[in-house]
């Protein structure tokens, strides 16, 4: 009883601190999002001035045509691949930052990791376009160094999309993993080593399990936006760059069919939530 009263008064004193954030979330996210939910059940957008009615047709459209499912699966695969590459590239970097480097050099490397955040996303994508194309920076540089002639034209291909997305999202993985890795007490690692565990065993039995929350958080932060991404595939993917995100964009921008676009977005949201819900017990046990 006493505990309950204490927590209630705790909540009351916390309210002024929470209010701005929740007010902002209500106005900026909840209201527009519920408007979109509403639109997704309409035949026409009220803005268009045409008569409208409620319908489930927009959701039915997803199931009536195989192309939406094909693209959704392609986008999920893209999300998994990009997340995997981010782990492969980001985790070792985070480890070095947290456990190997100290002082000045850590600050400098850390800055390099965060640097991409300071530039506009579109600028980053277009600079990749210059690097990846035939006769571009990568092609020219490699041909200048190598004794034999090779032809590198990665632009407008699936690998180009992966490269662009991994570049954009790898800092998230580095940051989340860095935080959990840094919190691991060095004496735990030393204890493992002094008890005869090899470096690999320490990594497997101590470091990875203890940093799992960071890995999971990073993976979720990356997977969700990548599945819905449309800018990178459109610019870098060429004729292979059609994904679930790009057809949602088409519905909003090219044909002004917001109801269908909204319905497709919520189907994506539902699928992602189901994936995270299914994955979370597994991941929690692993952590």
């Amino acid at each position: 009883m006493a505990a309950a009263t204490a927590s209630r008064s705790g909540l009351r004193s916390a309210l002024p601190l929470l209010a701005p954030a929740y007010l902002w979330l209500t106005v900026a996210i909840f209201l527009p999002l519920s408007a979109m939910v509403f639109f997704s059940f309409m035949t026409e957008l009220p803005l268009s001035g045409k008569p409208w009615a409620f319908t489930l047709g927009n959701y039915a459209a997803f199931f009536s045509q195989s192309l939406y499912l094909t693209l959704l699966l392609a986008s999920l695969r893209l999300g998994l691949e990009v997340t995997l590459w981010c782990v492969v590239i980001g985790y070792p970097a985070a480890y070095v930052l947290a456990k190997v480097l100290k002082g000045r050099s850590r600050e400098a490397i850390f800055l390099l990791v965060i640097l991409p955040f300071w530039s506009n996303g579109l600028v980053r994508i277009f600079s990749w376009a210059m690097v990846l194309r035939e006769g571009g920076i990568l092609d020219t540089a490699l041909n200048a160094v190598l004794p034999f002639k090779i032809n590198i034209d990665l632009m407008y291909s699936y690998p180009a999309v992966i490269i662009g997305l991994v570049h954009s999202y790898v800092p998230y993985m580095v940051l989340t993993c860095y935080l959990t890795l840094q919190a691991i007490d060095d004496s735990l690692i030393e204890a493992g080593r002094s008890l005869g565990a090899s470096r690999l065993q320490v990594l497997k039995r101590v470091i990875i399990p203890l940093s799992m929350p960071g890995l999971v958080a990073g993976a979720a932060l990356i997977f969700v936006p990548v599945v819905g991404s449309f800018m990178e595939p459109r610019i870098l993917g060429g004729r292979t760059g059609t994904f679930y995100g790009t057809i949602i964009e088409d519905q909003f921008v090219a044909v002004f069919n917001w109801p269908l676009g909204a319905a497709l977005s919520f189907i994506l949201l539902a699928v992602v939530l189901v994936i995270l819900a299914v994955a979370s017990p597994v991941l929690r046990r692993a952590a």
């Binding site: 803005l47 268009s48 376009a129 035939e134 006769g135 632009m155 993917g237 060429g238 004729r239 002004f256």
Partner: protein, 353 residues
């Protein structure tokens, strides 16, 4: 004495600034158009502002749908909007644009009769759009890849150009292009399956789907493409302004023609300014300067085209009666057609992944 002085000064400043602000508001002409499409040329804006005292505020759209959304959701914001004639119907039916008093536009009399009287722009005897320029969606080639310019649309399907062909990421344009390639009327496509088959066989040739002039020019500049669909005005601009090795080809099978026109939205605050701006946009002096400095499509004003040198592309090629016979003007299409075209286009794009 000091305090009242200060108050007086502050009041005077406040009154003065608000008067200024008000004056600026009343004289602003808000223009909605594609970016880099004549109306936002700095020299043109400056000349217009100097001549009329109106201040031009440009805003841009990336698709016709976005343009319609912008005028729909911001009533009273825009004074002039550039609308493709095929969308004029839809804008008028949605009560987004108002009739224009053409007697206020001295240059209107010089607009070619077939364009001024187009049923797409004139409804019940009232003018809802002033024809500005027209052009083609035809083919453009990278001069470096051809000894002799091709004459047939079939060049797009030539295996020699595999992976070096581009087409615009636009469902309507793609389907109409397919209609021309299969010898059909773009406004009355009877055999949709033939269009689909034809486009399906084109997809493996494609390098990428372009969406802006910049995409196209970049790819030619870095010698990544041989041939692709392109707009006539843009091809001219790529050649004259950016000095790129680009030539327009109007294939013997034909090309899609479009007409762009200026309209005044319902609730425009500065109708007089809008009329002055539209009149300036169809003026021969502006047009000649636009063509010379930047490169442009063909003016709807016959006097403006006549003011160009005899061998100018827009006079010689585009004014050629042989070309006129081959081209087909885009007519309005319904929302249902548009969605069907998009579904077809998306299916094609998914199948080629």
């Amino acid at each position: 004495m000091r305090m009242p002085d200060l108050t007086a000064l502050l009041t005077a400043t406040a009154v003065f600034t608000s008067a200024l602000a008000f004056a600026a508001k009343a004289d602003e002409v808000h223009v909605l158009n594609w970016k880099g499409y004549g109306a936002d040329e700095p020299w043109a804006v400056e000349a217009f502002e100097k001549a009329t005292g109106n201040k031009v505020v440009n805003d841009f759209f990336n698709s016709e749908q976005e343009m319609l959304t912008k005028i729909r959701t911001n009533p009273g914001l825009y004074d002039v909007v550039m609308i493709n004639a095929a969308f004029n119907d839809q804008a008028m039916a949605g009560k987004l644009i108002q009739p224009i008093d053409v007697s206020k536009l001295p240059n209107y009399a010089d607009i070619s009769k077939d364009k001024a009287g187009s049923p797409m722009l004139v409804h019940d005897g009232k003018v809802y759009g002033v024809p500005w320029v027209w052009g083609l969606t035809a083919l453009a080639i990278n001069d470096k890849s051809f000894d002799k310019p091709p004459t047939s649309i079939a060049e797009m399907w030539d295996a020699a150009h595999k992976g070096r062909v581009v087409i615009r990421d636009d469902a309507v344009e793609a389907v109409q292009f397919g209609a021309i390639a299969t010898g059909q009327n773009i406004n009355d496509i009877k055999d949709m399956d033939a269009v689909k088959t034809k486009l399906t066989s084109l997809m493996p040739q494609i390098k990428t789907f372009w969406s802006s002039e910049n995409d196209w020019n970049q790819m030619v500049a870095s010698n990544q493409i041989d041939i692709g669909t392109y707009w006539s005005g843009s091809a001219d601009r790529a050649k004259t302004h950016f000095k790129l090795p680009v030539s327009l080809v109007v294939p013997q099978e034909g090309a899609v023609a479009w007409l762009d026109a200026f309209s005044i939205p319902v609730g425009a605050k500065n109708v007089a300014g809008a009329e002055a701006f539209i009149n300036y946009m169809i003026d021969p002096k502006f047009y000649v300067e636009w063509v010379t400095k930047v490169g442009a499509p063909v003016s709807a004003n016959t006097k403006a085209v006549e003011a160009l040198p005899e061998d100018a592309f827009n006079r010689k090629v585009m004014g050629d009666p042989e070309v006129a016979k081959r081209i087909q003007f885009q007519a309005p299409i319904t929302d249902a057609q548009r969605e069907a075209y998009l579904a077809l286009w998306q299916q094609l794009k998914v199948d080629v992944k």
